[in-house]
């Protein structure tokens, strides 16, 4: 029997038109795209706002002033203050979290009962909403009854103003950011450390190579992709951070914590100056878009390298 009934029957059950088969991937991904494409409309609107003098308080004054908003920003000291504050915030948080995260990962690398329990417990701060974390730390650093002040007095530091004092406000919000997001680093780096092949380290141990040499010449270079990935991710978040500074002091005291998004929020909702707010946001978007280009291109290259070879 050359080809029995079932194979012959199936052979001509209709091929399914060619067009239908090529359309499958588009059919599968179109719904997701349609939903997210919808976001383009407000995006374009924001671009339009940034080119207009548009203040809800003087609706009749609304007109296209093209790049005046941007020029005014360039000349305004407040804007550069915002850039400075955001830069300090970003570099401080990402820097501290990278070092602390690596230290925690190294501490927890060996598989012991304590380490396993700790690596579960250390995920918890990351699960707390940044806004809620701010409110928690606000309670704890309350000058009147906060536990933190009490601990400081024990150590001998009196009258530490925390978020109420312009000099220490930045320290406080960075502390909250570090508290919430360091676990993000330690989880990734722990996964990285445990993913490294054990061979080189056993060989080094056998060759009697000093620990520090192994760490700097072998472990760190092999961990670099994980560190860079996590750092880029965190940089995105910190540069656009809003929840922590806003929930803590709404950008205060004075304009000590006036990061990009908080200023844009206040421009739009307190001073109802939508034009200026949109301009500020466009500048921030330009920075993040540039960063996202770098990051995603590096990823696609890395993944291509991993999946490239058939």
């Amino acid at each position: 029997m050359v080809a029995n009934a079932s194979t012959a029957a199936r052979a001509n059950r209709g091929r399914g038109s060619v067009a239908y088969r090529r359309a499958i991937p588009y059919l599968l991904s179109l719904p997701a795209l349609l939903v997210t494409i919808g976001v383009l409309i407000p995006f374009v609107t924001a671009v339009v706002y940034s080119l207009q003098r548009y203040n809800l308080a003087f609706p009749q004054g609304r007109a296209y002033i093209w790049f005046d908003n941007y020029l005014q920003l360039a000349m305004s000291a407040d804007f550069w203050h915002t850039v400075a504050v955001t830069l300090i915030y970003t570099l401080a948080t990402v820097g501290v979290e990278m070092v602390l995260g690596l230290a925690v990962a190294l501490l927890l690398q060996k598989r012991t009962v304590i380490n396993d329990v700790m690596s579960v417990a250390l995920v918890l701060p990351l699960m707390v909403a940044p806004a809620i974390a701010s409110l928690m730390w606000k309670l704890m650093t309350n000058t009147q009854f906060g536990i933190m002040n009490y601990l400081l007095t024990v150590v001998g530091i009196q009258h530490f103003g925390w978020a109420t004092d312009p000099n220490t406000a930045m320290f406080t919000v960075v502390l909250v950011d570090v508290w919430v997001f360091t676990p993000f680093f330690s989880i990734l780096l722990l996964a990285g450390l445990r993913g490294l092949p054990s061979g080189p380290f056993e060989a080094a141990e056998l060759d009697g190579v000093p620990r520090s040499f192994v760490f700097f010449r072998v472990t760190l270079p092999m961990l670099m992709p994980y560190i860079l990935t996590a750092a880029l991710f965190r940089m995105f978040d910190s540069i656009q951070q809003f929840d922590i500074p806003y929930a803590m002091t709404q950008g205060g005291p004075g304009d000590a914590l006036m990061v990009f998004q908080v200023r844009a929020y206040l421009e739009a909702f307190t001073y109802t100056n939508l034009g200026k707010s949109a301009a500020i946001l466009m500048v921030l978007w330009a920075i993040t878009y540039f960063l996202s280009q770098v990051m995603i291109k590096r990823w696609l290259a890395m993944r291509e390298k991993a999946h490239g070879a058939a």
Binding site: L28, S29, T36, L124, V128, A131, L139, I187, T229, Y246
Partner: protein, 281 residues
């Protein structure tokens, strides 16, 4: 006990205290009366009381300024509806799309994936402020649908990212075999790819739920007080004058309990999702 292991123990202690003490302290405060809180020096010995929780849940809070009506339970419900709603929508939309990007090398694929992913990195306010205008015109500010749709900006790229990585880890041979058995590509997707990717979909869903629950700025800008989640609710609650500190602590505890529970329950999925999402890209 060599020096190295002593240092290691001290390090563990310091790290443990720094990350866990705040959670412990706020939990303690939530069972303290105002008097206990204001006592200085603050001490751990106190007569625990559940009054903060009962008054919070009953909705009427006794404070120096008389009873304040704050519907915190409604905020908790809103958080749940918004988070769960946006996760379900994201899974329905992103999982098939992730399969398309993972399995079909089609021209549009790469840059379509790229456009969706880049939305994740746009500053939220840039989109929210103009949206507020449109939402007011079509009356979406007072509804869950509007917010759930906007939340897709957070949850959809996340699910897409993680689930795509997971689909790529499934060996293509298994799917080829099922096709060669005579099943259509749809049957292969539903009966082979999806069941095998279930752990990946679970971790993506959990992570999306947590990110949605913890979001603050979306609802702050677009949501009316009726639909505001617990993050915005907590801020208003704290800034309302005259509220007892114990009650604030209780509100904070209630707002983080669900995500902590999820973390402890599905820790393995979470870590998997996070490391897969970030590292694999």
């Amino acid at each position: 006990m060599s020096i190295r292991s002593l240092l290691r123990a001290l390090g563990l202690l310091a790290v443990g205290l720094f990350f866990l003490f705040p959670l412990f302290w706020v939990l303690m405060m939530s069972f303290m009366t105002n008097a206990d809180i204001l006592r200085s020096p603050p001490s751990l010995i106190f007569e625990p009381t559940v009054s903060n929780y009962t008054s919070l849940l009953s909705g009427s809070l006794a404070s120096q300024v008389g009873t304040l009506n704050v519907d915190y339970v409604q905020n908790l419900m809103n958080s749940f509806i918004l988070a769960a709603g946006s996760v379900v929508l994201s899974l329905l939309l992103a999982v098939p799309a992730a399969y398309a990007f993972a399995r079909f090398r089609f021209r549009g694929g790469e840059n379509m994936a790229f456009t969706i992913l880049s939305f994740k990195f746009a500053p939220p306010l840039l989109v929210l402020i103009p949206l507020l205008g449109y939402f007011r015109q079509i009356g979406l500010t007072d509804s869950y649908i509007g917010l759930i749709w906007v939340y897709q900006l957070i949850t959809l790229p996340l699910v897409l990212w993680i689930v795509r990585g997971y689909f790529e880890d499934i060996s293509e041979d298994v799917e080829y075999a099922y096709r060669l058995d005579g099943h259509s590509w749809w049957e292969t997707f539903t009966r082979i790819a999806l069941p095998l990717a279930r752990p990946g979909i679970a971790s993506a869903g959990l992570l999306a739920f947590i990110f949605a629950w913890n979001n603050f700025i979306f609802a702050l800008v677009l949501g009316s007080s009726r639909v505001q989640p617990v993050t915005v609710g907590a801020l208003n609650f704290v800034t309302a004058s005259g509220i007892q500190y114990g009650q604030i602590a209780a509100a904070l505890v209630l707002s983080i309990l669900p995500t902590l529970a999820v973390a402890l329950y599905a820790q393995r999925f979470l870590v998997q999702g996070l490391s897969l999402g970030a590292v694999k890209g």
